[in-house]
């Protein structure tokens, strides 16, 4: 009788295991993967990252618009303050944009790949240019107002502004246009 029961158990086990519903375990994945991976800290970081980078994107495009306007008013820089105020606005927007990018959490172990690498690399050009350009502009305007002779470096304000605009526009277009 015991043998019969044992046989029935073995048979039932074989049949049920052979025809059971397929599960993630059959694919070598833990069935509880969804539960195990629920990491509130990681979820919070990912949400914060998404929010900050969205702000970075919107502010970046606004900065590009303000920078374009600053560039277009360059010829009137000595006649009115519009170019100067636009320049100050651009700088404020630029550094706010940078703040949102630099403080966005990034999951560990992620290696930059593709266009984001170029987007970040271009910051090594437009970031120093964004610092130098307004300083040179200020020096040029100050010497002009004081009737003093312009230094060779402050004469390069336009060149630095061109480098800034070119690298910043390229950096932005890398993220929005599929090349």
């Amino acid at each position: 009788m015991k043998i019969l029961f044992l046989s029935c158990f073995v048979i039932t086990h074989f049949i049920s295991s052979a025809y059971a519903q397929l599960s993630l375990k059959d694919l070598g994945m833990p069935d509880t993967v969804a539960v195990e991976r629920q990491d509130p800290k990681l979820q919070f970081e990912m949400k914060e990252r998404k929010s900050k980078l969205k702000t970075h994107e919107v502010l970046g495009l606004t900065t590009l618009g303000a920078m374009t306007a600053t560039l277009l008013t360059g010829n009137t820089a000595l006649d009115s303050n519009v170019h100067m105020y636009l320049g100050i606005t651009t700088a404020a927007l630029y550094f706010t944009t940078a703040y949102y990018s630099l403080t966005a959490p990034k999951p560990s172990g992620v290696i930059d790949r593709g266009r984001i690498k170029w987007h970040k690399a271009l910051a090594w050009i437009h970031f120093p240019a964004m610092i130098i350009t307004p300083i040179l502009g200020y020096m040029y305007r100050k010497h002009e107002d004081e009737g003093k002779k312009h230094g060779s470096l402050e004469k390069q304000h336009t060149t630095f502004a061109g480098i800034l605009y070119g690298s910043f526009a390229l950096s932005a277009s890398l993220m929005v246009i599929e090349f």
């Binding site: 019969l4 991976r37 990912m46 990034k106």
Partner: protein
């Protein structure tokens, strides 16, 4: 004693009737469309199994969301954030079909897709090509899975995302 032997034989004959197919190689490519761009991401880590009982087969396909790679790592992270991969790490498709249809050139199956924690029924057409590769397209409905569509310049990506599968199966364990 006779009855025991009979039961054992029956059980083994039933088990012998079972037929399994395992995925040797699997690839899934999604295509996201936006007014200004079209983006593709591929996962080469598709897991799958087909288990047949007599004439009825059940299949299971699973992909870890974070194994999809596009040409840009930042975009991949954004995709994982949008799909809440830390909460719903695996996308699963499962269903049933008739064994007779398995080797036909075309096989239309109904699959239940568990994606972003929401289950939805889809119809897939599997095409067997001469090389033994099985190909199919699954057109995902993002809003049906309660996925907040990302936007660029205030324009959202298209709601439907086709996922193209390339599957190669091997009989047995």
């Amino acid at each position: 004693m006779k009855s025991i032997i009979t039961l054992v034989l029956i059980s083994f004959s039933l088990i012998a009737y079972a037929e399994d197919y395992n995925l040797v190689s699997g690839e899934a490519t999604y295509t996201v469309k936006h007014t200004f761009k079209k983006v593709e991401g591929t996962s080469r880590e598709v897991k799958g199994k087909v288990q047949c009982k007599e004439q009825l087969c059940q299949f299971l396909l699973a992909i870890k969301v974070d194994t999809f790679l596009s040409s840009d790592s930042n975009r991949d992270l954004n995709m994982q954030t949008t799909l809440e991969s830390s909460k719903y790490p695996v996308a699963i498709a499962k269903g049933e079909f008739n064994l007779k249809e398995w080797n036909q050139a075309k096989l239309v199956i109904s699959a239940e897709v568990d994606f972003h924690g929401i289950k939805k029924q889809y119809t897939m057409t599997l095409v067997n090509d001469v090389s033994g590769m099985q190909k199919t397209d699954l057109v995902l409905d993002l809003e049906a899975h309660k996925i907040e569509r990302p936007s660029l310049f205030t324009m959202k990506i298209e709601n439907t995302v086709p996922v193209h599968f390339k599957l190669q199966w091997k009989k047995g364990d």
